[in-house]
């Protein structure tokens, strides 16, 4: 269950890290396979674009599952667009993103599912 809006504005402290991870699970139980069994049948693509110059960055399943993928932020504005695409088996996808402050705290921490397949995370 998503706990944040489909677009978020995060005022990140300097020298923070933007971290993210994704996973997908089956949503029904079978005779021997429990509900929630991990599956790779999904695509998660995160496009990170810097607002003040520099190269864009793309994360996909190979970076996010298992994650977390990590990028230093707080030096300029960044935007990350996220696309969650279930594969033919239609699993439930979970995308988790957060900011890790230099102090180690998490001032921003959100989880979404593919009920919201397109997200925007704005870091400033």
């Amino acid at each position: 269950m998503a706990n944040c809006d489909e677009i978020v504005l995060w005022n990140v402290p300097a020298n923070s890290k933007f971290r993210a991870e994704s996973s997908a699970v089956t949503s029904v139980a079978s005779g021997t396979i429990a509900k929630g069994t991990p599956t790779a049948d999904y695509a998660c693509v995160v496009n990170i674009s810097p607002g003040g110059g520099g190269a864009s960055l793309t994360w996909d399943n190979s970076n996010l599952d298992p994650g977390p993928a990590s990028k230093a932020v707080g030096d300029q504005g960044y935007a990350a667009t996220v696309t969650l695409a279930p594969g033919p088996s239609n699993p439930t996808i979970t995308f988790h993103a957060w900011i890790e402050a230099p102090s180690g705290t998490k001032p921003f921490d959100c989880t979404w599912t593919n009920a919201t397949p397109n997200l925007v995370i704005t870091l400033f």
Binding site: D5, I7, N11, S27, V28, S30, I33, A43, Y78, A79
Partner: protein
């Protein structure tokens, strides 16, 4: 380059969008964003609920060309009403098998048939047949299949091997949101404390900054609307083509039967399924614009590749496009039947009518199945499957080669329920070579438990 082209194409739209401003100072980032991108249900297509026919271990009565490796569990109940098979319950499981490829699966399928007395003992039993039949249980005729279904870029119905392709073709509006983010970053001091997506723009006291932020967000939100629309079409097209990917699988079947029902059998089967509108075919025919995208490189041709994919899959008009296209399946099966001697003395049968001897045999079965989805103004989500089987039996002079053909019409009632009707023709029954041609009609209902959370 692809993204530059994408955003160049959006420039005119963004400019016009700025003129027709939709957001006001009373809006927040979220409410402004939603004016361009209303909250909607997930757009991803569920292939798991495509009408794939009913699951059976054999390819006879309710055969389908589209084997379902998607649901982790599905159960079907066939109500055979005329000949051969009675009622059966089929259970399917799909287990991850990541030892060759990451996304490979092993399928385990068990079919519990309503047992009936074998034809070769009914005459010796005579009036004792009813007594013998009463000793049978639902566990006296069970077929168990274990099969291997490789999943990679060429075979199998999974998006996992194609993530780089999806990544290269999927548009993004990140660069426009980055402009918005950079404005916020460089003007942090002018923003109200704890400014976030739910803060009204009116809280920004600098009128020029407020207008700049609104305009930049509108531009990005408009671009996101277009990007999401393209992404949704792309996802649906890719899912459609993945649904048509060829599948190859090999498996072993052990058919356990009470000796009153028939001899135990062991068989090995190899099957190959193809569909004319697969992702493989699309990529082969469009290698000039898609070859880089397959490797995850979003070059200048990526947009063209995406457009062609959407056109190839014909997802622009979902009402006219069936979720699963034509499929052709070819299978070869080797079967070995063990020899046995059936003692009927406990049913008051005396020699020479007992024991009944059954010689061991081995046979090769060739089967060809063709499936065709039917979609029209009046009929939706229906399939027709035609199956032809030929059994070449050796080592048993009492058994003749057998030809079986079936025509199955299955109508999807809902995402979880399918109604199949099947007409089966056989030149003779399995163990009565002297019996002439037989024709029967089967109908039933199949219920599939979908992989939808909370549903």
């Amino acid at each position: 380059m692809r993204r530059l082209i994408f955003f160049a194409s959006l420039a005119l739209f963004a400019a016009s969008s700025a003129v027709a401003q939709q957001c006001t100072s009373s809006d927040t980032t979220v409410t402004c964003f939603r004016k361009y991108n209303p909250l909607a249900a997930a757009t991803a297509q569920s292939v798991a609920t495509t009408n794939t026919g009913t699951p059976t271990a054999t390819t006879l009565a309710t055969a389908t060309a589209l084997r379902d490796f998607l649901s982790f569990f599905s159960a079907g109940v066939d109500a055979g009403t005329v000949i051969e098979n009675g009622t059966s319950v089929t259970l399917d499981w799909n287990f991850p098998f990541p030892f060759v490829e990451d996304n490979d699966k092993v399928k385990v399928q068990s079919v519990f048939n309503d047992p009936s007395l074998a034809a070769d003992i009914q005459t010796p039993l005579g009036s004792n047949a009813t007594n013998a039949k009463s000793t049978l249980t639902n566990f006296d005729d069970i077929s168990t299949l274990i099969s291997y279904d490789p999943v990679n870029q060429r075979l199998g119905r999974s998006i996992a091997p194609h993530i780089k392709l999806f990544e290269a073709l999927n548009p993004t509006a990140a660069s426009l949101f980055a402009v918005f983010a950079q404005t916020l970053f460089t003007n942090k001091a002018a923003l109200p404390q704890n400014f976030d997506q739910n803060t009204p723009f009116s809280a920004i006291t600098d009128a020029t900054l407020q207008q700049t932020i609104i305009t930049q967000l509108e531009t990005a939100a408009a671009a996101q609307k277009n990007a999401v629309a393209v992404s949704a079409s792309l996802t649906k097209a890719l899912t459609q083509l993945l649904n048509n990917q060829p599948q190859a699988y090999v498996g072993g079947i052990y058919h356990y039967r009470n000796e009153l029902v028939g001899p135990d059998e062991f068989s090995v089967k190899g099957t190959f399924e193809v569909s004319p509108k697969s992702l493989n075919r699309f990529l082969k025919n469009n290698a000039d614009v898609c070859s880089k995208a397959v490797t995850g490189i979003a070059d200048a041709n990526a947009t063209t590749c995406a457009n062609r994919m959407v056109s190839f899959a014909a997802v622009d008009d979902p009402s006219a496009q069936p979720s699963a296209s034509d499929r052709l399946a070819f299978a070869i099966e080797y079967t070995q039947t063990k020899s046995e001697s059936v003692d009927l003395t406990k049913f008051s049968v005396v020699p020479p009518n007992t024991p009944v001897l059954r010689p061991g045999t081995h046979s090769i079965t060739y089967s060809l199945t063709y499936g065709h989805p039917i979609t029209s103004a009046k009929i939706k989500d229906a399939r027709v499957d035609v199956a032809v089987n030929y059994d070449n039996v050796s080592n048993d002079p009492t058994m003749k080669d057998r030809f079986v053909a079936s025509l199955t019409f299955s109508q999807k009632i809902s995402d979880t329920m399918t109604l199949p009707i099947s007409i089966t023709y056989a030149n003779h029954t399995q163990y009565l070579p002297q019996t002439d041609r037989r024709m029967g009609v089967h109908f039933g209902i199949s219920y599939k438990i979908p992989n939808n959370s909370g549903q």
